[in-house]
Symmetry: C2
Subunit: 289 residues, 2 copies
């Protein structure tokens, strides 16, 4: 089965819990709205690519890890879009969860999606239970404290934040979990894969800053100019647009160089190059090499 | 070590992650504010009491399960108190998290506490790793979908909610997780313990409704009269005050009868009777038998 089909199947399987008897229908609707229809699914595809490169032998566990990572990503978007943070009315080209369902259900849908990520992992541990603790540690560390997504977002509430630390926690941490979990689900040496994820996460964040500063909202499906409007740290603010594009290209090269020796390293490097080329929006492609 | 000391030690150990390098200090402060100083710790004490009755043999795992349950309880209070839900300015007799730290950090502290519960479980699985999946399932089901706390709270956003279902999900589910996890951590037959937790959770919810309707805010350390003001389902609204007190007493009796046969059943029944007597506030004690 193709990676994207595996990911959608695994996410649909996880979300099926919200369709079971007893679940409030509007909460279930808000959770589905947050996860479907799909975005690029960059992180779970990375997780699957790493697992394949490591000689995947427990595909249900890989699929659960990939779904868990995407569920946590979706949860973070739902909470980031809340009125008390970005107050974003659109996401992926349609109403954000709080715009469609109200802030209370957006808070609860985010909470339930965080929990669902751990439920998905717990439900698929049967294939290789000894790998579960490492997966839980990687996923928990990527979203909690001290250095996960919630911590990264919280730097927006502190008087001074270091840009590199802010981006590493808010974005890099979950990319690192994607590579670490891909390896862990395949029984590989998980922590050797962290650097690759961190580099890709940093590249993705720089690309996101570029899109926010230099694209129209139609092109990227959400409001733009938010970093400048909210005074948030941004690679474009600190490096300028051309400097940020240079930085993105350097990070993509670093990521390719960070792939550990493994049976499927050639295919993985090709995946990474293809993915990083797609990070820069069409309107800026002429700047890229 | 006394149960309360074990619980505080385990919670302090979990919260130590928020004091590690890289964590935003105000987020760490908001998380500590949500968990310390302690409330009654009813759920984790129940977890420890059940583990003891089942012949506890992996105390680190019991402590982690108890801490996880209390962290999830605290997270739910932080999010319940948000302006978009109860908009409660006080909790446990002092400012709620959003009143002290603002709504953004209250959202993130709740998120991070949810994740911390799973991090605590993952970190203590070494003692009996085969028990981890059951613990994760019980905890995840108690806070997520279809029938956990997030689902229970979401019934407040639906046009019609069944009172019993609302209370079972919002309160009973985590009490059930406390008894199920206590048994699971001790290697017992976990699901046999669910009914006891459900009965105790229902008793606790009825007592909470009574306090909200019939006590002063000084006596219980949070705003009162919220159920009526917000038009929420409540045992006092549906049964009247005297009817709600009768219901509480019947549920306490049901709980004692629901203790499964086990080595420590006598001690556990005494614990339950002592706890349920304390649920009714001083000012209403004359009504109770």
């Amino acid at each position: 089965m193709e990676p994207m089909a595996r990911i959608e199947r695994s996410l649909a399987g996880a979300l099926a819990r919200a369709a079971e008897p007893g679940c409030p229908p509007r909460l279930a609707g808000a959770m589905r709205h947050a996860v479907f229809p799909r975005g690029a699914r960059i992180r779970p595809r990375l997780c699957l690519a790493v697992a394949a490169a490591c000689g995947e032998d427990a595909p249900d566990l890989t699929d659960a890890a990939a779904a868990a990572i995407e569920l946590l990503h979706c949860a973070s978007l739902v909470h980031d879009d809340l009125p008390c943070f970005d107050d974003a009315a659109t996401r992926r080209g349609r109403p954000s969860v709080h715009a469609a369902f109200g802030a209370p259900l957006a808070v609860l849908a985010g909470d339930a999606l965080i929990v669902l990520a751990f439920q998905a992992l717990a439900g698929c541990a049967g294939q290789a239970p000894e790998r579960l603790p490492a997966l839980l540690r990687a996923v928990g560390g990527a979203v909690g404290v001290p250095c996960g997504i919630a911590a990264g977002q919280a730097w927006e509430c502190e008087p001074g934040a270091d840009l590199a630390q802010y981006q590493q926690q808010k974005t890099g941490a979950l990319f690192a979990a994607a590579t670490v979990c891909g390896a862990a689900a395949a029984g590989g040496e998980a922590e050797r894969w962290r650097l690759l994820g961190e580099r890709l996460g940093e590249a993705y964040q720089v690309a996101d800053d570029i899109r926010d500063a230099a694209c129209g909202s139609e092109e990227i499906g959400k409001p733009v100019g938010r970093d400048a409007a909210l005074g948030r740290p941004s690679a474009v603010r600190s490096l300028g647009l051309a400097g940020a594009i240079d930085r993105l290209e350097a990070l993509a090269e670093d990521a390719v160089a960070a792939v550990p020796p493994c049976a499927g390293s050639a295919g993985l490097r090709a995946h990474i190059l293809s993915e990083t080329r797609r990070l820069l929006p069409q309107s800026l492609a002429r700047h890229a090499a």
